[in-house]
């Protein structure tokens, strides 16, 4: 048995890099330092053994060669292919995906569009006052969690970076640090907050506006309650924010998925801008998938846009709402799909799944997923962080090498995509 220390967990945007694994005979026996979700990911079983293809409504086993050729044929045959997913794979594979899309003339989008896509739209309007997570750990005496529930979605966030993490300027973090939680329901995270602000559903924008007005000295105009929050509480929270030495606002899909979408996030950013005239304040989106931020980084340096990039006309075009996966599927605007590192059949509205059913679909995934049911072929690959390695970007933009713990015969995402890409170049005579 071998103990491997400081491994990186490939589940959520925290990318905890202090995981210990016990490994024997090419199998992971146990994990240490992981949260429940991370542990489940490392201990995952039931990998697909070989590529499969749907023939006359039934699944048959095929070889990798046949799978690659079929994938290339389906994609090259399309007038508007959609390459979706990417957050569950490493950066090197995402780069191959972009190159592939350049010659395919398709649309490439990541799960960003259904998590923090709206945050990016807001950042594109007003920017992003942020910092790395260690900066928060070492300095922040006020933490705000807005529309997020780290105890369930990012289970080690509070112990590694915020509430319970001691830092250079805070040697007893738990006592010296205040935590405010803003949500429409009393989540597990809300239960441990010093201050819980319960907002009516759809009321985030109004509450953020009210806070901005108070910070700007216009508190007199604020009515007694705003979206379920009393003026007294708003004044108190505004005061906590203005008088802290370092405030860190973390926000989740509670803002991005609610009514108003990115305009909520824009208002939060402008609140933080305003607070920086009084003290130090930063803002960080709680990114979900372990490498969703990496997909945004790779897409940005390769195409100029962080997600939802349409290459149909050869040059890159970007317009979320039009070039995003949900909209394209719901409007039936693609005629082939390649899905990698995500499971849209589980996470997309039914109307989108119906178009997946009616369109040729290639799935690249180690496990049988819900999207498998609608695929024409599926190609199993190694899991990054277990039997493959590559680069990922943490929710705060820190690039981390995700290492592998064991060897397997599965190709990595990069290897299989490179084979598909090379074959495409060959078929197109490039």
């Amino acid at each position: 048995m071998q103990e491997i220390k400081d491994m990186v967990c490939p589940f959520c945007g925290c990318l905890c890099d202090d995981v210990t694994l016990e490994v024997e005979n090419g199998k992971i026996l146990s994990t240490d330092n992981c949260c429940t979700i991370g542990n489940a990911k490392f201990m995952g079983k039931n990998r697909l053994k070989n590529p499969i293809k749907k023939v006359d409504g039934a699944w048959v086993d095929i070889t990798y060669d046949e799978a690659v050729n079929t994938a290339v044929d389906l994609l090259l045959d399309a007038d508007r292919p959609l390459l979706y997913g990417w957050s569950g794979t490493h950066g090197e594979a995402q780069c191959v995906g972009i190159h592939m899309n350049e010659i395919l003339g398709g649309v490439i989008d990541s799960t960003t569009s259904v998590c923090h896509g709206p945050s990016i739209l807001a950042i594109q309007e007003v920017g992003h006052p942020g910092c790395t997570l260690g900066q928060v750990k070492n300095r922040a005496d006020l933490i705000v969690y807005w529309g997020c529930n780290p105890i369930e979605a990012h289970p080690r966030h509070m112990s590694r970076y915020t509430t319970y993490a001691d830092g250079y300027f805070l040697d007893n973090a738990f006592r010296n640090r205040k935590v405010i939680v803003v949500d429409v329901r009393e989540t597990e995270t809300a239960k441990v907050a010093d201050e819980f602000i319960r907002i009516k559903q759809g009321g985030d924008y109004a509450v953020l506006s009210a806070l901005r007005a108070i910070i700007r000295g216009k508190g007199d105009m604020i009515p007694e309650t705003v979206a379920g929050v009393t003026k007294t509480q708003l004044m108190q929270v505004a005061d906590m924010c203005k008088t802290c030495s370092f405030g860190a606002l973390f926000f989740g899909v509670g803002l991005t998925m609610a009514k108003g979408k990115y305009k909520n996030v824009r208002n939060a950013i402008e609140l933080v801008d305003e607070l920086n005239r009084h003290t130090k304040f930063t803002l960080t989106p709680m990114r979900g998938h372990w490498n969703v931020y990496g997909a945004n980084e790779v897409f940005s340096w390769m195409t100029g846009y962080p997600y939802a990039v349409d290459f149909c006309r050869g040059v890159a075009f970007y317009n979320p709402g039009e070039t995003t996966a949900i909209d394209i599927l719901a409007r039936k605007e693609c005629d082939a799909c390649m899905i990698i590192g995500s499971d849209p059949a589980a996470h997309f509205p039914r109307q989108c799944v119906e178009h997946l059913r009616d369109t040729p679909v290639i799935v690249i995934d180690p496990f049988q997923s819900m999207t498998t049911s609608f695929a024409d072929i599926q190609i199993p690959v190694a899991v990054t962080g277990i039997d493959a390695e590559g680069t990922a970007y943490r929710m705060d933009g820190i690039p981390i090498k995700v290492k592998k713990a064991i060897d397997s015969d599965y190709p990595s995402d990069t290897e299989i995509l490179t084979r598909i890409y090379d074959r495409m170049l060959e078929v197109k005579g490039l």
């Binding site: 979700i37 259904v114 105890i151 559903q201 899909v253």
Partner: protein, 130 residues
């Protein structure tokens, strides 16, 4: 009764995410969290099933009392069940209204479907395994 429908991540849903056709995932993603007083108004006991209808579809879920919710709001974890009733409209932003849908909820004696059953109903072909 009218409710606002909210969805999100739960730790159990996250734990079972790599085996979505298993029992754990099926259980977790088909629970409908409701405030206990709303359950009283609905005349539904915890553990009984409710039928949730939106503009675009309907789904059977199991009621679970949750005092953390405000009255008038229900919460369901991400998964294929909640997506049966979520509209694909993104208001030009790329993002559906996962956090806010108006729904109608009533008691039902119908059984919950498993994810595999929903997939098959949609025309999917489950891979039997190897």
């Amino acid at each position: 009764m009218k409710f606002l429908f909210n969805t999100g991540r739960t730790i159990r849903q996250g734990k079972y995410i790599e085996s979505k056709l298993g029992q754990g995932y099926a259980e977790e993603t088909s629970l409908c969290h409701i405030h206990p007083l709303d359950l009283l108004d609905l005349g539904v006991d915890e553990g009984e099933n409710v039928l949730v209808k939106s503009e675009v579809g309907e789904v059977v879920l199991e009621a679970r009392a949750d005092e953390g919710l405000p009255m008038g709001m229900v919460f369901v974890s991400y998964g294929i069940h909640c997506n049966s009733i979520i509209s694909a409209c993104t208001h030009g932003t790329g993002m559906p209204d996962f956090k806010i849908h108006e729904v109608d909820i009533c008691f039902t004696s119908e059984q919950r479907k498993t994810p595999a059953e929903i997939l098959e109903q949609l025309g999917g072909v489950t891979y039997a395994g190897n």
